[in-house]
Symmetry: C2
Subunit: 330 residues, 2 copies
């Protein structure tokens, strides 16, 4: 929301913060149909409604298809909206897919659009030399959101909004409150009240700074690399097990797969099996609906997860499926 | 912001969340000219601009003047805006004034407006039998914001948004994300992602629940009463010291006062004195600009503050003023 407010103020073409939306054209942003729901939420908070967000198709790995951007831009304009930016994901929450950020950056440059990247989950990949290329182009974004409670082992909530041009962050929330804000702008860098939605906030950055000082960057580099490696290993194991189906080769440390059972009965089976496993407390699985099927979604985020645990997870699912099907048959 | 989004969805007269602001009339809220800047911020985030907020005059104790409400309502309508609600303060941040909530509730009932109360600082007063009457009418609000890190001795940030009708809280952020939200609405009460701006949040309510279970309500009742008592005692002392001027008899535990020096030089003097005291670390004073003058603003929030400390504060200010004026003269 903070980044989109900055984009709105920067690219609306009028002083929307003071004059209000009705003083100018209706705005919108372009975003992959697989983006996190928070983008749609921010758009609706700002009062843009359904038409505030135009969805860009994805390829077979759930990455935004940059070739579709000109068409969607034209659609948005035809609908009477002025597009102000594109939101890329690095990576998407559902399947861990990295959008082609360099191609999106090119498109934004050509069309004078704000380029925001939701790198909440996957931004930490830049610390891993092995996987860094997945987020190539991230450095060209106008704004980036990065959650340190996701892949930096920090306690929640520790989210950063990074701006390429720091001054933009001041334009977003211009306000006066004599008991809070000083008059000298050059001394205002330390006052988060001018740059964030909330005024009172815990000094979360201290946690991250402390961890980096104490442990160094290496620990986090190895952690990211290890989690992504483990996800690829799980995908390999699933490939070797014919009773399981992999949704796609994982980009990040998120793996979506299912036990091969077709139709709505198969979906119900998945939900029953997942519920039993959650109640047992042995593994944590979420579920996601993709291509008209329910998939089990596994986020490999514990660096101590080993081969035995991956095999154990699949064995547990097999056992639960057998038990569920026997109960259903009797 | 959360409460105003609920008010917006409830009273806009159309489905603004889905259709966007441009599908209906421009909206606004009515709020005292002394309200916290976060109301104006929320209005601007929603894209309503300057005209999204119509200011209601205050009386000589900075309380919203309910007699002025019909006029301001008419002004807003004349400006082409549809007013959807009134925001009351209990208390205001600058001077700790409690708006006449009962009178505002009457007005909202008559005119079918959402009644929101910013009780961030002063809501805890309901725990104090001695001072509870200050917030009479709070129980009639459609929504209330209450910060437990202010007058409940909780660590920041611990903010609650309370709704009179809990169902409203679900209408605010209707969305789908299959990997997060279950399909059965009756099991959704525990899922804050449906009802708050952020999705991932620490379970802050546990802190408050634990403190109430361990200490009981009595501790907090005595705490609030004590802090309000101390503020009244500071005001008395200032009345007895002719070199000081009190802005107004305190409602809450916020006391605004100044050393009697007129003109811009006096304002500069106050800022120099305040800076020196802050740097010494002895007392924490903020400043506030009211009626064209700078005032020192003291929030009495430590239950161990005693008579000697209040006297010490004034003595320290006297000494700093003397020192500053001698330096200035030499």
């Amino acid at each position: 929301l903070t980044a989109l407010l900055a984009a709105r103020q920067s690219r609306a073409g009028f002083d929307l913060w003071s004059q209000g939306q009705s003083a100018g054209e209706d705005l919108c942003v372009l975003v992959s149909e697989q983006a996190h729901y928070c983008v749609a939420r921010a758009v609706r908070i700002m009062g843009w409604g359904d038409q505030g967000l135009f969805k860009v198709p994805v390829d077979d790995r759930n990455r935004l298809d940059p070739a579709a951007l000109p068409d969607v831009l034209a659609q948005a304009r035809a609908a009477g909206r002025r597009p102000i930016g594109v939101v890329g994901s690095a990576c998407t929450t559902a399947t861990g897919s990295y959008d082609p950020l360099d191609a999106i950056a090119d498109f934004c440059e050509t069309n004078d659009l704000w380029f925001h990247v939701d790198a909440a989950h996957g931004g930490s990949v830049v610390l891993s030399p092995k996987y860094r290329a997945l987020a190539a182009g991230l450095e060209r974004a106008d704004s980036v959101v990065w959650d340190c409670h996701k892949m930096m082992m920090m306690p929640g909530v520790l989210t950063a909004v990074l701006f390429r041009d720091g001054r933009r962050s001041y334009e977003t929330f211009r306000q006066e409150a004599t008991y809070l804000f000083e008059e000298r702008p050059d001394e205002e860098w330390y006052n988060p009240g001018n740059r964030t939605v909330e005024c009172t906030r815990p000094g979360a950055a201290v946690l991250l700074y402390t961890a980096l000082r104490v442990h160094g960057v290496g620990v986090f580099r190895d952690y990211v690399t290890r989690c992504f490696d483990v996800a690829r290993r799980l995908a390999e194991i699933i490939h070797g097990a014919p009773e399981f189906e992999l949704y796609m080769e994982p980009d990040a440390n998120i793996v979506c797969f299912r036990f091969r059972r077709e139709g709505p009965a198969g979906d119900g089976l998945h939900e029953r099996v997942r519920g039993n496993i959650l109640r047992s407390g042995q593994y944590y699985l979420t579920s996601v609906h993709l291509d008209d099927k329910n998939w089990l979604r596994c986020t490999l985020q514990n660096p101590f997860t080993d081969e035995a645990e991956l095999q154990g997870l699949l064995e547990t699912i097999r056992a639960e499926v057998r038990a569920a099907e026997e109960t259903g048959a009797s």
